[in-house]
């Protein structure tokens, strides 16, 4: 019973907090949260919601190819947003594509966060030569656009492994490439906060008690620098989704056998001039709405957690 009370109490306090208040104050933020949740749900349950399984080759029928959306002449409700050149339902491919896009986006943000936060903690807490080396690498990397770094990493892996092998690990490579292009922001932010925190009494007290540096960093310093990290992570999620879509659009992201939203837009792009605009437009709209919603959430979180704006 005590545990339930504890959780209920936590919940009540969360509803009472400033952040929840500012969330309720902004209709746009609530709408973006709703849209993001819808996308997450659609991606998670795609195999059960989607009217067709676009990757089950046996169920595809070429006589269904290039059907227009249902409100147009010759369109049917079986393919609400029309179908592509192989007779795949565009609505279903969007659901499955959003799944890949969100997965790559989330994993690459988590990867960048873990890498950046650890390097930032080490850099700030250890200092000295280690700090200089990490921060010089960060400086050099920061002067390049993230997309160029992700492209280079992807290109190098392509040079090392063979084509078939590459297709198998493409998603993994993409997560690492996008993650590696983002770690600097986390590292810099965390390092800055650690430099402030490390001289405060509670850290000195922990040191006097005799805790190991690793324990002090993780148990004591880390929780106090997580606020800005969360804000960066939300904003980065939108950028990571865009980056993944861009790489896939350029034809160097996920393979066409497991298309993300970017791959779908790329495939549809070939049909623009023959009049089948729906193959590219609907995945494009889905991507735009998803990115906009995540972006707005990130903006709101940044303002809500910024004490200067209260």
């Amino acid at each position: 019973m005590a545990a339930v009370d504890h959780i209920a109490d936590r919940f009540r306090r969360a509803l009472d907090s400033d952040i929840y208040y500012s969330f309720r104050q902004s209709r746009l933020t609530m709408l973006s949260a709703l849209v993001t949740l819808l996308f997450l749900a659609a991606a998670a349950f795609a195999p059960w919601i989607a009217p067709h399984n676009p990757f089950d080759l046996a169920s595809l029928d070429l006589s269904n190819a290039l059907k227009p959306p249902f409100w147009m002449e010759d369109g049917t409700l079986a393919f609400p947003f029309g179908s592509d050149d192989q007779g795949r339902d565009v609505f279903s491919t969007i659901l499955f594509g959003a799944r890949i896009s969100l997965m790559v986006g989330l994993f690459s943000v988590v990867f960048a966060l873990l890498l950046g936060v650890s390097l930032g903690l080490i850099s700030g807490y250890v200092g000295g030569v280690v700090d200089s080396i990490i921060m010089r690498i960060a400086d050099v990397q920061l002067s390049f656009p993230a997309i160029l770094i992700a492209l280079m990493i992807d290109g190098v892996v392509r040079g090392i492994v063979s084509g078939q092998e590459y297709e198998r690990i493409a998603v993994f490579v993409l997560v690492v490439a996008i993650g590696l292009s983002f770690w600097v922001q986390y590292a810099r932010t965390v390092r800055g906060s650690v430099l402030v925190e490390r001289n405060k009494e509670y850290v000195q007290a922990a040191r006097v008690v005799g805790l190991s540096p690793t324990l002090i960093m993780i148990r004591h310093v880390l929780p106090n620098v997580m606020g800005p990290v969360l804000v960066i992570a939300t904003i980065n999620l939108a950028i990571a989704i865009i980056l993944e879509a861009t790489l896939s659009f350029l034809g160097i992201g996920v393979p066409p056998t497991t298309p993300s939203l970017g791959t779908l837009i790329n495939i549809g792009n070939n049909y623009l001039f023959s009049g089948q605009w729906w193959i590219t437009l609907f995945p494009g709209l889905a991507l735009a709405v998803l990115v906009l919603a995540v972006n707005l959430l990130g903006d709101w979180l940044r303002d809500a957690l910024n004490p200067k704006l209260r």
């Binding site: 991507l287 735009a288 990115v291």
Partner: protein, 327 residues
């Protein structure tokens, strides 16, 4: 001042050497350069011979020094895919990319600054709100999607503008320009808007924030108290003071624009360096990839350096020797 310049120059050289080392490692450790040059039919002994001839057995430091020396002379090796010197490939495509980037940057300034000034001076008008919402959407849309939407509207639905290529170009020396022909200019419109749109939103928000801040300061109130006209206050006093950060940011963004032209060039099939780079990625054409990386790094480093020095020259508060004298 001189110490600052020297320190900045040393930093830039260090960055360039780091990037050159990455490029050099790509050459040497990704794939086998001999394999790429001779193919399958050459015996192992001949390969070893060639290896020695090309100096691939020398210590890393010597090979790296040779690589940097070659690069300084504009010798970047031969493309695996096209069997042509990379230096020549890049030189043929450089004008297309640079023209596109500069026009996009000019568009970003010409659209972004007035929009920012208007929405900063009159934040409550509906047009300002419209600008802000548009900039929110513009910042969220991926570049390639903007390009595709433009193509849908202005090339497919209304066949007004060409959707690929540069149009007719004129040669001036080795530089080929599309700015002197009607079809070249027409072909430039959509790519330049696509590439510049994100920067428009950025510059607009920056100018707006700066103007909002400046309009609250005492010297603006004082200028009003002196009875100056709105025009003199807005443009003579407020705008002038917001331009320093705008110039720096635009300068720094130029490097981003050149790098982001990769996407725009792919969407519009624009025959520039970015398109060459994307094609070389798909074939793991290491010499082209490495050269592109070094070149972009060079552009970005030079632009950052110039922006830093400009900032230093324009803003007296940054000159530390002046600051210490005042004490």
């Amino acid at each position: 001042m001189i110490a600052f310049v020297i320190r900045r120059l040393l930093q830039s050289v260090l960055v360039m050497l780091t990037v050159a080392f990455v490029a050099f490692s790509l050459f040497n450790y990704v794939g086998d350069p001999i394999q790429a040059m001779v193919g399958q039919d050459v015996s192992l002994a001949d390969r070893a011979q060639l290896r020695k001839q090309l100096g691939l057995e020398d210590p890393v430091i010597i090979r790296f020094a040779r690589f940097v020396g070659n690069a300084l002379e504009g010798n970047f090796g031969v493309s695996y895919r096209m069997q042509e010197p990379v230096g020549r490939l890049i030189r043929e495509r450089l004008p297309a990319s640079l023209e596109l980037s500069f026009i996009a940057a000019a568009f970003a300034l010409l659209a972004g600054v007035p929009m920012g000034v208007y929405s900063g001076l009159y934040p409550r008008r509906w047009l300002s709100r419209l600008f802000l919402s548009v900039s929110l959407v513009g910042a969220a849309l991926p570049t390639f999607l903007i390009g595709i939407l433009l193509i849908v509207f202005f090339a497919v639905l209304l066949p007004l503008l060409p959707s690929f290529g540069r149009g007719d170009v004129v040669k001036i020396g080795w530089w080929s320009t599309g700015l002197l022909t009607a079809s070249g200019l027409k072909a430039l419109i959509m790519p330049a808007i696509t590439l510049g749109l994100f920067q428009v939103t950025l510059i607009m928000r920056l100018v707006r924030a700066e103007i909002l801040e400046v309009m609250r300061t005492d010297y603006i109130k004082f200028a009003r108290a002196r009875g100056l006209t709105n025009r003199a206050v807005h443009y003579g006093h407020a705008l002038k003071n917001t331009l320093v950060p705008v110039i720096t940011i635009t300068g720094l963004q130029l490097g981003q624009i050149i790098a982001f032209s990769i996407i725009t060039e792919t969407v519009f099939n624009w025959p520039g360096m970015g398109l060459l780079f994307v094609q070389s990625l798909q074939f793991a054409d290491i010499p082209v990839m490495a050269t592109y990386l070094v070149l972009i790094a060079f552009f970005i480093v030079v632009i950052n350096l110039v922006a830093d020095l400009l900032y230093f020259a324009v803003d007296p508060r940054l000159r530390s020797d002046v600051a210490t004298k005042a004490h």
